[in-house]
Amino acid sequence: MENNPDDIAKLEVSEKLRYDLRSAAEWGKLIAILSFISSGMSLIIGFRKGSIVLSVIFAAISVFVYFFLFKFGAEVKKAIDSNDQEKLNSGLRNLETYFKILGVIMIIVLIICVLAIVFLMLGRMIKF
């Protein structure tokens, strides 16, 4: 008798999980769309104030990050509505990518903060 790993206790998308995933997907999609709008407005404000390069960089990063949250929202909602396993898996992969990118950005920000503190302390030591 062969034991297929898929036959062992399965986690299923119960009614509660369907409801919560669908709700999470809708809000994720809304957050992404609001971020796209905000990036667009920041871009225009940046152009008017003359800081074009910085505005483009921040807008590009924001759009890139929230694109994956949008895909999570769109695909999981479609998956729940049409009972599509592939779409659900794809949506969850996009959620993973979204948080992965946020984690990497956090690491970069932390490194910059640590470097700034180190240079600040070095600067003070040199002054004395």
Partner: protein
């Protein structure tokens, strides 16, 4: 006909979905913990600056031309500290919900616990609802600034 009804596939959290969720919880765990570390550093900086500001305000108070404004300066510093602490409190709660999503979903996937998984996804829903609420507030503020600048 009963066979047709029974054969409609139900969505499942299969191996691929479990792998994605496991990776997601690793990153959200990291993000939540690092956020708490950052918040702790901000609090420490606040305490340090608050003590330093006290000495600074005392120096300003000694100058005769600035003495009339010294009370206002003190109030501004206290108000700013209060706002930052409230902000950190709210942020801390949001972060706790993200951590709860991470821990409960991880437990659900690792131990094949349906209830833990449901709790985890429920926490994700609450987290996104709160972030969504702040995003709506943020876009209203941004729109106001945008209209003013235009």
């Amino acid at each position: 006909m009963e066979e047709e009804v029974l054969s409609i596939p139900r969505l499942q959290i299969d191996q691929a979905a479990q792998t994605s969720l496991r990776e997601t919880t690793r990153w959200t765990n990291f993000i939540a913990i690092m956020t708490y570390v950052l918040m702790g550093l901000i609090l420490l900086a606040l305490v340090f600056m608050f003590q330093y500001k006290g000495a600074f305000i005392n120096v300003i108070k000694k100058a005769p031309e600035m003495s009339q404004f010294s009370d206002a300066l003190g109030l501004v510093v206290v108000a700013l500290a209060f706002v930052i602490i409230i902000g950190l409190g709210i942020f801390g709660i949001i972060n706790y919900i993200l951590l709860r999503f991470s821990n409960q979903t991880r437990t659900g996937v690792d131990q094949q616990d349906q209830i833990a998984l449901e709790r985890g996804i429920s926490s994700l829903k609450v987290y996104l609802i709160i972030i969504g609420g702040f995003s709506i507030l943020g876009i209203i503020v941004s729109l106001t600034q945008f209209i003013i600048i235009l």
